[in-house]
Symmetry: D2
Subunit: 374 residues, 4 copies
């Protein structure tokens, strides 16, 4: 029996372009219940980079025109990994061509644009996905189950953060990330991840207050040069949120956190238990279960293992560690499976729009100095 295949077109050859290429390839090998993704075409304005990708990953075609890619009738799925600013145009074109679309996070530069993309997707009747890869961690899936089943009791608090340090040096040059035309700053760039995690675990958010902070007001136009340009977006976003389910919490986003590479973490407390997670130790979930013998009770260090699906698809032995690329592989496998089964992927454009709506509401709350309702 030959497995079905599904043909992929990839736009962009940066950090995420490579992550997608690797993940599609791996998804077909790790998971045998999905059509095998075939890398069909890669597009990049820089033809040499596209050609390099073709050679490295085995794409059939290397293109310089993304429009040629989205219109290629042989392609089933389009993956968009360019800077945020370009997502919308590319996604709309791909949707118009009837493709299933995976678009990296943040989905786009505003809630309004995200809504337009979401509505286009729903009208097109195709499957969509957005790159909130951290949700794919088997331990986060398990955390969600614990919460949903009531194992933690009534949830009273969510304390979440995504902090990295890649912009911490005031001499790190100005880039498209600093330009409001290119997106909403740290709140979207890193913050969208912790927002997605909060929603994944606890559901919709109904109210938000926020302070957006830009400690580094200007940056060099080029590294080492004297000329500086104003930073138009936030470096740090501090949000207070109320979830529809009733509990509240905090969400923080920060790209100035010197020394942090991947502090995507949370502490969730409920009347019967507490969960603590940090992506810096992504194979560990810390769980306190109330009501046990107080002499021997304490936070349990749960190590990821085959008892936490789909870890077992990667390795039959617990504690052997998944890595970042494995999360991306799960993400792609779930997207392909959703396409194959004709169901919505999680998170899809609708979910990505919800994230973006919250960002917009937070920006408004910041400007008004008052709570914003969604």
């Amino acid at each position: 029996m030959m497995r079905n295949t599904i043909r992929i077109g990839l736009i962009g050859t940066g950090f995420m372009g490579k992550a997608h290429a690797l993940a599609y390839q791996a998804a077909g090998n790790v998971f045998d219940d999905i059509p095998r993704p075939m890398l069909h075409a890669v597009a990049d304005l820089d033809g040499a980079r596209a050609e390099g990708f073709r050679n490295q990953f085995g794409f059939v075609k290397a293109l310089t025109e993304w429009r040629a890619l989205v219109e290629d009738p042989e392609i089933d799925v389009v993956s968009i990994t360019t800077p945020t600013l370009f997502h919308k145009e590319m996604a709309l074109a791909a949707l118009a061509a009837g493709k299933h679309v995976h678009c990296e996070k943040p989905l786009t530069i505003s809630g309004a644009d995200a809504q337009e993309m979401m509505l286009a997707a729903e009208k097109a009747g195709v499957r969509t996905a957005s790159g909130f890869n951290y949700l794919k961690n088997p331990l986060l899936k398990y955390a969600r189950e614990m919460i949903a089943s009531g194992e933690l009791g009534e949830i009273t608090d969510f304390n979440g953060i995504h902090a990295e340090g890649f912009m911490a040096d005031p001499e790190t040059p100005w880039s498209w990330r600093c330009d409001p035309a290119g997106g909403q700053g740290a709140i979207a760039d890193v913050g969208s991840h912790i927002i997605a995690v909060a929603r994944f675990l606890l559901g919709p958010i109904s109210e938000v207050f926020a302070q957006l902070d830009t400690p580094i007001k200007t940056r060099p136009v080029k590294a080492g040069e004297a000329e500086r340009k104003e930073v138009g977006v936030d470096d740090i976003a501090r949000m207070l949120v109320v979830f529809e389910r009733g509990c509240s919490g905090t969400l923080q986003a920060n790209w100035l956190a010197t020394g942090r590479n991947m502090q995507l973490g949370f502490q969730i407390s409920g009347s019967n238990g507490t969960l603590v997670f940090d992506q810096e130790r992504m194979n560990e979930l810390h769980y306190y279960k109330a009501g046990e013998d107080p002499r021997s009770n304490g936070f349990r260090l749960i190590e990821s293992g085959p008892q936490h699906p789909p870890y077992g698809a990667f390795c039959v032995a617990g504690g052997h560690h998944l890595g970042f690329n494995d999360l991306k592989t799960i993400e792609m496998a779930e997207f392909i499976r959703a396409i194959d089964q004709g169901v919505s992927a999680t998170p899809d454009f609708r979910e990505a729009w919800e994230v973006q709506r919250l960002i917009d509401a937070a920006v408004m709350a910041h400007r008004n100095g008052s709570w914003a309702r969604l």
Copy 2:
């Protein structure tokens, strides 16, 4: 040469009463540059408890009337460890009697009362102190020095929390802590500690926004009984703050954090470094120093040692661990030393009032749904 002595009167025989008695005794032994504190009198409404303290700790007198204690001419210092509600009356009486006064935190139930106490103290010209024991950690003193010396560069973020779980069970009975007449809830009970830490490290706070949250609306009047009483204070306080120095941050207080015993922690980021601390591992300070060889750089686990005064007064060898009672000992030693030298102790009633003012401002910000300025 005989050391001078100083006579102590202690009001209250609970958790903090014992901590004070132990700390005064230890202070005189650990530190040889201060007058030796002599436990003179202890007062408790419950005469048997007072007598028990006299026997256990060697107080000269055991009293049931605190007024007799504060007026005892042989006493130099009065330590107040009763529930918050009683602090003000006792402190004012002790100040009126010309005593130096140590009063546990939170200083009292409102900023106005705190101000009255502070003004009375300054008028009396005596020395005061309030029980923010966690500031006495040698590692926090070192952290403060690092910040003050610019070693962390420009500070961009303070992310602070004090979370414990002692009220996490909805069946934990109603107590004076749940009564607004007795104080301001978690924001004061545990929150005052993280506020004090934030101020200790980064200085005054000029603006605050807050959400006060009471997930557990009612509690049993008595354990196991059906009758329930409304909780009048917050269980969780989430604050956004702006420091006078320009940077911003978050402060969270929570007494519903199931499984947490002493999560008094912070992360401070600056352009040149980051510090991370958690009182759960109070002998460790984590420090990331920017600009080192990237292959071997990472957060350093600094262990408390004699290079962090006054650790060396307890133990000449590093990494041997101070405990909670040692912090209390440092606190009392510093108070006695301030009395001896005729200088202000840190933190004194003025500082405790500043903490309380911030709490009042946070409550107002919560009610108004808008930023409050101090």
Copy 3:
């Protein structure tokens, strides 16, 4: 330009069979400087399993006869992942057929057999490799560099362990792992890893003393049945070793360590520094550098990143985590690269024989109750 390819034959479809299949596929995608491995044939006595692998991973052929595989002229590389007992026969046949051979660890059941395999390989003039995947961790490569460059000063101690708990329950049934005919127990099964790590970092071992311990004397023939069979091998091996370079250390192997999934760890001390590693947190290396300011010095938590090659081939951002399968991918890429460049892979059969020699010497030391020289 089309990349060269290299055709792989895989024997065995268990835990390691899958790991190899995934790793060969990934190696061709992650690394673009090697011939792309093509999964040509898979062999398993159980035809359905072989066929399942063909379908899942895209092998061209599924076989039930491993001999057909090793003799297939289209195959360049044979990967052996069967139980240890079968390694020798398969490897010798593959070598005789002129194939490059990757054989899982432990190489075989005795030093004598390992030597035979090593000599056959060297005579055949092909490339060999053995599955000590943990050596492929970019942080271990960096640790080795630090040691070699003298950054740690004179090495004084190596304290190594590999402990897992998969045999901890006395009711876990007897299996081929318990049979001396199938190998040497925990000392080979898990111990070979820590031996390989010790040699990788510090070079040859010249003397060994050992205690082999079998706390669980018998195990059920089948799960839940009363009939029990004697365990003929060690559950725990405790070794003292002297390295040729002069320093000494300990090596421990244990498969009864309840709760441990992957405690492959070491502490190496030198006069100028100390390194601590545990595979349970495989993306972290702890490093103490002597001579820094004592107030701010401490163990540094180095997070794996692109500054530790070949991490960057997987992900351009530090702290994003490699996983177990990524180590296997590096292993296969390095093997293919060695084949392509006509140089020895590390570790090859000679190195695997050295590991096995040490195991033999340790067994002898245990029996004689005295040091064994190598």
Copy 4:
């Protein structure tokens, strides 16, 4: 009711002298069920130091002649904190004078001398104690209970170490610790602690093999000087041990472990559970309990609290941390209580002799290159 008192004579004013003075004082305050220790006399050859102690701690007398102290009829208990070499003579004199004697560890420089001291003590009919303070940790007491009650099942392994770095620098000068006339090196200086811990938890040791290692062969006679002197003792001791109860393990002692201040740790595995402890985080015990739901099982971080006696005597709230001096306080309180109740203290001279016997056996095993039986 006045509490009884008991009068203490202290010999030595170094690190341990201060620790004893503080601990006796604190013991009387923290524990109300014991006679209050009164600091009566302190002796040091250096009269100024003795006088300083009198002033700091409130001793009644300061002496330069230790013999005057041990013969002082007002003294009930003699505490010996001088270098090891002097322990025996002082202890025998104190025993001859009918005093109860506390002598720091290691008890003396050889097993024969230790036996002589033990026999003298038993003949004198007084109470003795030796300073294995780490045994006094409430979490170690709890660990011992767990083992004794069978909660961990059949114990299969003990992996223990005591490593510090205070001699790691080859330029650290020669001292009495390097002189075989003064004791047995790291095996006694730090190793005696981990031996005592192993015996405390698992009982007597019946066989030992050892390698004693001296990587730093010579040290400067004085800091910074060229003249060097041979180190006559071990820097590192690596032992394999068999416990009478049947299980085996390893014990390591090391004073060259660069960067380590207090790595006194162990991992104990049993068929039903595993315990992991490290004095570097002395308020934490890690416990894996077999047989729980595998999805949520993992090592539990048990924090020290009032549920682990006698923690509650120090603090009513869990997770507030005991420190090193608190362990010493428990040690002295238990010694005084044993005196008061007329029962043996733990550990007494007999136990200290058992530790020393093991050290002697290990030295012999090292010399012979074969197992030594006790």
